[in-house]
């Protein structure tokens, strides 16, 4: 990888109380990022990580159209690779370099991966789940694509605060957990609010012919949870860390199956 580009155009994106500084020599791209992450911007004085971004077009040596993500660690350096980007990140130095296509979509994907790695070290994770705050508690609605994450978000009463309709951000908070808003969105096409709340219940979504909440065995909850945690690194030690984090989460958090009809009445059974 070549020498990192430097430039004066910085932006600091803070998600889940993890500020990440992005620096690009391209003023226009900085503005695009500012627009993409509006609501999640902060000053960069306390950034956990700093990335220099080098925009490249065309993507000369970035391979074919394969969208498979590769994430690996060697000698304390994380290497992230997809057809539209290459990135390196020195964990100890907190510095990284990104070479990517000139689209925020690429930066967005890199940020998701970076946050999965940041959270893995502290017992948290990103989860395929919609999330919102209601009555001071965060509710999570997890499921694969098509399970109803965006639908449940769209049907939410006016007194709920949307955290995300697609990717939820979970951090340890002492012996409990806290859910944070993210700019990562799904079909709803709007970011969550930049706020957080103690985690209440995680619901695993299933579409059905009635609205009902059922308890599920912890073993099933663990299996479903692991299926929905975002994790990209093929690193055996980190897989063990994620497994342990998931197990601890299952032991501490209330989890149920929510079968629902896609209309607003579902919210009358959610407690």
């Amino acid at each position: 990888m070549t020498t990192p580009a430097t430039g004066a155009h910085e932006i600091c994106v803070e998600i889940g109380s993890h500020p990440v500084l992005l620096r690009t020599p391209d003023h226009t791209y900085r503005e695009r990022l500012a627009n993409r992450y509006a609501g999640f911007l902060t000053d960069g004085s306390h950034a956990d990580l700093k990335f220099d971004i080098d925009l490249v077009a065309p993507l000369d040596d970035m391979g074919d159209d394969d969208v498979e993500i590769e994430v690996e660690a060697r000698s304390g350096i994380w290497r992230l690779r997809r057809s539209d980007f290459r990135a390196e990140w020195d964990c100890r130095a907190g510095r990284g370099y990104i070479r990517q296509a000139p689209t925020p979509y690429s930066t967005d994907s890199i940020l998701r991966i970076v946050h999965t790695l940041l959270l893995a070290g502290e017992g948290g994770f990103l989860l395929h789940a919609a999330s919102c705050i209601r009555n001071g508690r965060a509710l999570l609605f997890s499921g694969v694509s098509g399970a109803g994450k965006t639908t449940i978000s769209r049907l939410a009463p006016a007194d709920t605060t949307l955290l995300s309709d697609e990717i939820s951000y979970i951090r340890r908070d002492g012996t409990a957990y806290r859910a944070f808003g993210t700019p990562f969105f799904g079909e709803l096409a709007r970011p969550g609010d930049n706020c957080s709340a103690p985690l209440g219940t995680l619901f695993f979504l299933e579409k059905g012919f009635e609205n009902k909440i059922e308890a599920i065995p912890k073993s099933e909850a663990l299996r479903k949870l692991l299926r929905n945690i975002l994790f990209f690194a093929e690193d055996p030690d980190l897989v063990k860390v994620i497994f342990r984090s998931a197990w601890e989460f299952v032991e501490r958090v209330s989890m149920s199956r929510l079968t629902f009809l896609p209309d607003e009445r579902v919210w009358s059974v959610i407690r």
Partner: protein, 105 residues
């Protein structure tokens, strides 16, 4: 048939949860839920105890099952898990791998 020895791989993460052993391969993230009999074999897979002894002393004592049937089932079980690399199988005793010991909830 020669004796077989089984040992939990160190490249796994495992937890006993709600009476079931949950095992995940750290190399390919394959996930397994073991039933009670399989959990008994899993917990006894220390690399030194022959499989036949695990079956007679652990499985047959804990569950009402004939030794021959239990051994057949055990052979099938360890073949499946060894195929995913989460159990090591040998006709010689195997060295214990510290990181492979199961963690009980």
């Amino acid at each position: 048939m020669s004796e077989r020895y089984v040992l939990r791989s160190s490249a796994i993460a495992s937890r006993l949860l709600g009476g079931e052993m949950m095992v995940m391969s750290a190399t390919d993230s394959t996930f397994f839920t073991l039933n009670e009999v399989a959990t008994t074999i899993w917990q006894a897979a220390d690399g030194h105890t022959p499989l036949s002894e695990i079956v007679t002393k652990s499985v047959c004592r804990a569950f009402e099952v004939e030794p021959e049937t239990a051994l057949q089932d055990a052979q099938s079980f360890i073949d499946k898990l060894s195929g995913h690399g989460i159990l090591l199988v040998s006709d010689q005793p195997l060295e214990l791998q510290p990181a492979g010991s199961p963690e009980a909830a």
